[in-house]
Each structure stands twice: as C-alpha cells, then as structure tokens.
C-alpha cells in the first residue's frame, strides 16, 4: 500500500465514536427483549415457542454485533467474515441434518438414536 492509498483510507475510515446514548438505547432494548423472551416462554404457542425464542435471541445478538461491536461502521471485509462464519456453521448443521432427518424414511432402517 503506498502513501496516497493510506491517506485515502484514513480519510475514508476515521474511527467512529459511537455516542453513549446509542449504547444505552441498545442496552435497554436488550433488557426488554430478555424480559419478553422469558415471559413468552410461559405462554403455550406450540411449536412457535422455539421460533420466538430463537428469533428474539437473533435480534439481541444482532444488536450487540451491530452497535456494541461496531459492525454498523466497519468494513465489508469484516461483515463477510462474520457472515462466512455463520454460513459455515449452517453447513455443519444442515448437512448433519440431512442424515438425521432422513433416517426414518427407509422403512427397514428406522434408526433414530
């Protein structure tokens, strides 16, 4: 990287200083979501209980990543890395499930654990 490139990048990415207000807002949102997820868990929504619980967890995690971890102001490379990591986790889950989910399909081999 030469000097002009470096200077160009410095002016492009000045360090972002997030105001404490946004932190507090996110913090309050996280507390509210925690309360919600706990309360909702006591209501019978059938299969939706899990969906709601995981959905709220995802929202909370996203808030932390975006604001507390500054991803809202970070480079695309960093975002690709995070999405990539999650995608690899998805590969692990999905292909393993391709085994467990289809085990019952062949009548002679009902071998659920």
């Amino acid at each position: 990287m030469n000097q002009t490139e470096i200077q160009a990048r410095e002016s492009l990415h000045p360090e972002h200083i997030v105001s404490p207000k946004s932190y507090v807002a996110v913090f309050l949102a996280l507390l509210v979501l925690t309360a919600t997820t706990t309360l909702v868990a006591f209501v019978d929504l059938g299969p939706w209980n899990t969906v709601v619980a995981l959905g709220i967890a995802f929202i909370k995690a996203t808030l932390v990543v975006l604001i507390f971890m500054h991803i809202r102001w970070s480079s695309n490379l960093t975002r690709i890395i995070i999405v990539g990591g999650l995608f690899w986790l998805a590969i692990l889950l999905a292909l393993t499930f391709s085994d467990f989910a289809t085990r019952g399909w062949l009548p002679i081999l009902r071998m659920r654990p």
Partner: protein, 544 residues
C-alpha cells in the same frame, strides 16, 4: 539477466542474513523472524516424520508374514494409531504451511514478516506443548483407537491414554488455527505496493485457501475432542448410546474437520507444484485465475463432502447419496489444476531438475489417488472396499505420493534460498527416483490387496495375501532409504555445499529477488510489484 548472478556472499561479511545475524540458542527460541520460526518447525516436523516412519516400519515388519509373530494385536493397534496421529497431526498438517509457507509467504508478498510475529512464535510453542502431551502418551503405552477416535470405543472401551493424546491434538489444533489466521491477515493487509490479488503467486493462493480450512475446520475437531475428553473423564454422556446418544454424530463432527483436513495437506503441495512447474518449464502458468480459484473452490467444496467417510456407519442412505454426489464436485477443481499444470508444461522448455522430478511424481500419483477417491465416493463401490487396504492405498497415494512429494519438491526448490547453499543435484535426482520407485512398490500392491478383500487395521491376514504384502514391505524399506538420503545431503550441504546465488533457477518470484539467504527484513529495499507473477513467456498467450 544480470540479477541472477549476484556475487556469492562474501565470508568477510558475517552478519548480513537471517541465519548469521545472531547466534545462540536464545536467539532461536525467542526469535520473531518468520524465517527462523520456519526452521524451528522444520526441525520439529522432521523429528515427527521419522518417528511416524518408525511406527510405519514396525507395521510393515509385522505384516511381512501372515501370522502375528512380531507384535500382538493390542500392540499392533497402538502402532497404527500412533503412526496415524503422528503423521497427520504432527507432520503432514504443519509440514508445508508451517515450514515453507511461514518462510515464503511474507517474502512472496514483499513484506517484512507475518502480520503477527509473536503469535507466530507462540504457534510453534503451542505445537510443541501439544506434541509433548502426545509424546507422553506414546511413551507411557500409547493409544489404540485409530487416529479417528471413534466413540464409543474411545470414550468407554479403549485402552491407553486417549485423553492425553486427545489433549495433545487439541492443543496442536490451536497452533494450526493461529498459523492460518496469521496467513489470512498477512495476505490481506501486508501485500507490497502494486501486488494485487491476481498478481499473487499461486503458492500464496493455495495457502490462503488452506488457511481458510484451518480457521473454519480446526475449531470443530477441537471441540469434538473436548467432548470425547469430558465424556471419558466426567461421564458427560455426549455420545453415549446408553443414554440415547449417537456415536454417528461424533463421526459427523470428526469428519467435518477431517475431510477438509486432507485438503490442508494437499493444497499447499499444489501451491508448490504450481511454482515448480512454471519455473522449470519456463512458461507462464496456464489459466492463472482458474488455478487460483480452484484452490478456493477446493477449500469450500471440501466442507460439503465429509459424509463419504460414513457410508456404512448407519448414516441415512439419503444423506449418503447427497454426500456421494457432492464428493464428485471436489474432483472438478482438482482436475482443473492437473490439466493446467500439464498445459503449462506443453511445449515448455523443461529442465529435469530435482524439484521438477518431484512435480512429475506429484502429478501422476495425485491423479491416481484422486481417481481412486472417485471410486470410493461412489456409494455402491465404497460399501465393498470400505475399510480395506484399498482405502489405505488411496489416501497414501494422495498424502505420501502427493503431499510429501510436494513437500520434498518444495524443500529442494527453496533450499538454496533457505540455507544459502546448493544441494548436490546428482544425489538429489537419485533420491527422487528411489522415492518414486519405493512409493509405488509400497502402495500399489495395497490397491490390489484391498480389492481382493484384505481389511485394514488387522495384524494378521490369510496366507494368500502374503506375496503382495512382502512387496509392500520391501517397497517401504526402499522408500525409507529414499527419505534418509535427502536428510543426509541437506545436512551435508549446509557445511560443504556450494554457495547459492540469489536466483539459481532464474525464477521470477519475488522471493528470488533478494539474497540467499535473505536478510532479516527480507528485502533491503521494500519491493514494488509491477507485473503478473509468472513472466516467462515473451509473447503473452496466457489465459487469465
């Protein structure tokens, strides 16, 4: 043309390169120079290569005769386990990346060091600590689970020091993770001015792909071994069938890492071959971008096929079919590479130097290994040859015929840069020939044995298999000699070899533009890159 005959290093200037800049044990054990760390790794993996070789020797000696006369089955189980563990985790996975990659990546991208030099040294120490645990287990009686640690054998039944060995591999895994992380960050942030992504040498591309696997795959084997450990120690029944747990789940986790891990072993070797083939054919690489992307494609697709190790494990047949189909996809980028190397050599002016001999060996043997991989990926065929010597032959064609050939080729190619000395060409060619002959004599009969139905991992076998086994053992001793000879002449050359010029092969790589051996900062003046990586052909008839 002037550049390649830089006057030989004068003995009157004692402190002009990374080797002689400082002396003493401390200057090595506390170094942060990537080149010195590479040599620390070289020493350690060489030790493990010969240790693993010793186990192999004992295995082959036992198999010389059909009966179990040299060792009992328990001992035999420990021998092949320790052979696999040492060779895979302590030799092959660190081999090219930690030695050649460490040494060369900063030089190839015109940087002074890796992005995190202290982390690099730490990786080596972590490796040593992991190795110490595993060595402790070896000395105190070993393990007998196979390198695969399948549960419930490893959690409930196995004799020996499963936990110590697993802890050793767990720790060493972090060394691998940190090396990969360091490479990725370095390649992203430390390239010389003008060195765009598509001007990177293919060696760097293949290490980038390798590092992706190290970073994305290794944590999974780490946590898997951790689970085996806590199941064995604390009785947390994570894979325990008695509680309704599923040992096949362990296999999923294990192979999620361990299939991609085979590409940790082969991708760096492919990078070496790309460099060697262009240099000694004096041609630009054919289809640069295809070869570069093929590395990344292999790394990605390699994560989608692990279930082909589990066709007969109780995995659902439907999953088996998916994994079988996906496995065929990996063959495509691998084949692209082989085609492109061949096309690069086509009408090139080929010189038969030692590295090139190894490259030829690699291409031929890797192709055989890869094609038999396709046999095995075919669900219906694998049901018959699974757990026979056919498998053993398949992966040795790739790991020994491919990866180790690449490693030796690379060691010869860059030895002048690393040591500042030339190796003796005549001896080296002779050794390469011995290795090639010994290798095929050892492992080709194993294809036949497997096809005829000899199972792997038994210490005794029916007498009708003896002829082929004797051939294999004989080949192994030839191969062993082939590996010892380079050890001797490399050591010899450090003292008595001719001084190496900066660029003995008239290569265009950046690493050859500095002195041999390089100064600590690699380049007296930071280089600026203005052209594509391989500029051998005058007329530009190159794709990509």
């Amino acid at each position: 043309m002037a550049a390649e005959f830089i006057p030989e290093a004068e003995p009157l200037h004692p402190r002009d390169n990374y080797l002689n800049v400082r002396y003493g044990v401390g200057s090595w054990l506390l170094t942060r120079d990537h080149k010195r760390i590479a040599l620390l790794y070289l020493a350690s993996i060489t030790f493990f290569f010969f240790l693993g070789g010793l186990f192999a020797l004992l295995i082959r000696l036992e198999l010389l005769t059909p009966g179990g006369d040299l060792v009992q089955s328990e001992t035999y189980n420990k021998l092949f386990t320790m052979h696999g563990v040492v060779m895979i985790f302590f030799f092959l996975i660190p081999s090219i990346p930690a030695v050649l990659g460490n040494f060369l990546i900063p030089m190839m991208i015109g940087a002074k060091d890796l992005a995190f030099p202290r982390l690099n040294l730490l990786s080596w120490y972590i490796y040593i600590v992991g190795a110490a645990f595993t060595m402790w287990a070896v000395v105190h009686g070993g393990v007998d689970t196979g390198w695969t640690f399948y549960t419930p054998l490893s959690t409930a039944a196995a004799n020996g020091h499963v936990v110590a060995t697993a802890v050793g591999i767990f720790i060493t895994g972090f060394s691998s993770i940190l090396t990969g992380l360091n490479f990725i960050v370095t390649i992203h942030t430390m390239r010389a001015p003008g060195l765009t992504w598509f001007r990177l040498p293919l060696f760097v591309w293949s290490h980038y792909a390798t590092s992706l696997i190290m970073v994305l795959g290794t944590p999974v084997i780490a946590v898997t071994l951790l689970m085996v450990g806590v199941e064995r120690i604390f009785h947390l029944g994570l894979f325990d069938p008695a509680l309704g747990g599923d040992p096949v789940l362990f296999q999923h986790l294990f192979w999620f890492y361990s299939h991609p891990a085979v590409y940790i072993m082969i991708l760096p070797a492919m990078g070496v071959i790309s460099e060697v083939v262009t240099t000694f054919s004096r041609k630009n690489i054919f289809g640069y971008r295809f070869v570069a992307f093929a590395s990344v494609a292999i790394a990605v697709l390699g994560f989608l096929v692990w279930g082909h190790h589990m066709f007969v494990s109780g995995q659902s047949v439907y999953a088996g079919m998916i994994f079988s189909l996906l496995s065929f996809l990996v063959a495509i980028p691998s084949a692209i590479k082989v085609f492109n190397w061949t096309a690069t050599m086509y009408r090139g002016s080929i010189s038969w130097r030692t590295p090139m001999l190894y490259a030829f060996g690699f291409i031929g043997l890797f192709t055989i290994g890869g094609l038999t991989g396709l046999f095995l990926a075919t669900l219906g065929v694998d049901v018959h040859v699974h757990d026979t010597y056919f498998i053993v032959a398949h992966f040795h064609y790739i790991m020994v015929g491919g990866a180790i050939m690449g490693y030796l080729g690379g060691m010869h190619y860059w030895w002048p840069k690393i040591s500042g000395k030339m190796y003796p060409e005549g001896w080296a060619r002779f050794a390469a020939l011995i290795v090639f002959i010994g290798f095929n004599l050892t492992f080709f009969p194993q294809f036949v044995l497997g096809y005829l139905g000899m199972p792997r991992r038994y210490h005794a076998y029916p007498p009708e298999f003896q002829v082929l086994n004797v051939m294999s053992t004989a080949g192994a001793s030839v191969l062993g000699v082939g590996y010892v000879i380079p050890m001797i002449y490399f050591a010899w050359s450090m003292r008595y070899g001719k001084n190496a010029p900066a660029n003995p092969w008239r290569s265009t790589g950046l690493e050859w533009q500095t002195t041999s051996p390089p100064p600590t900062e690699n380049f007296p003046v930071p280089p600026v890159v203005t052209s594509e990586p391989y500029v051998y052909a005058t007329e530009s008839e190159v794709v990509g």
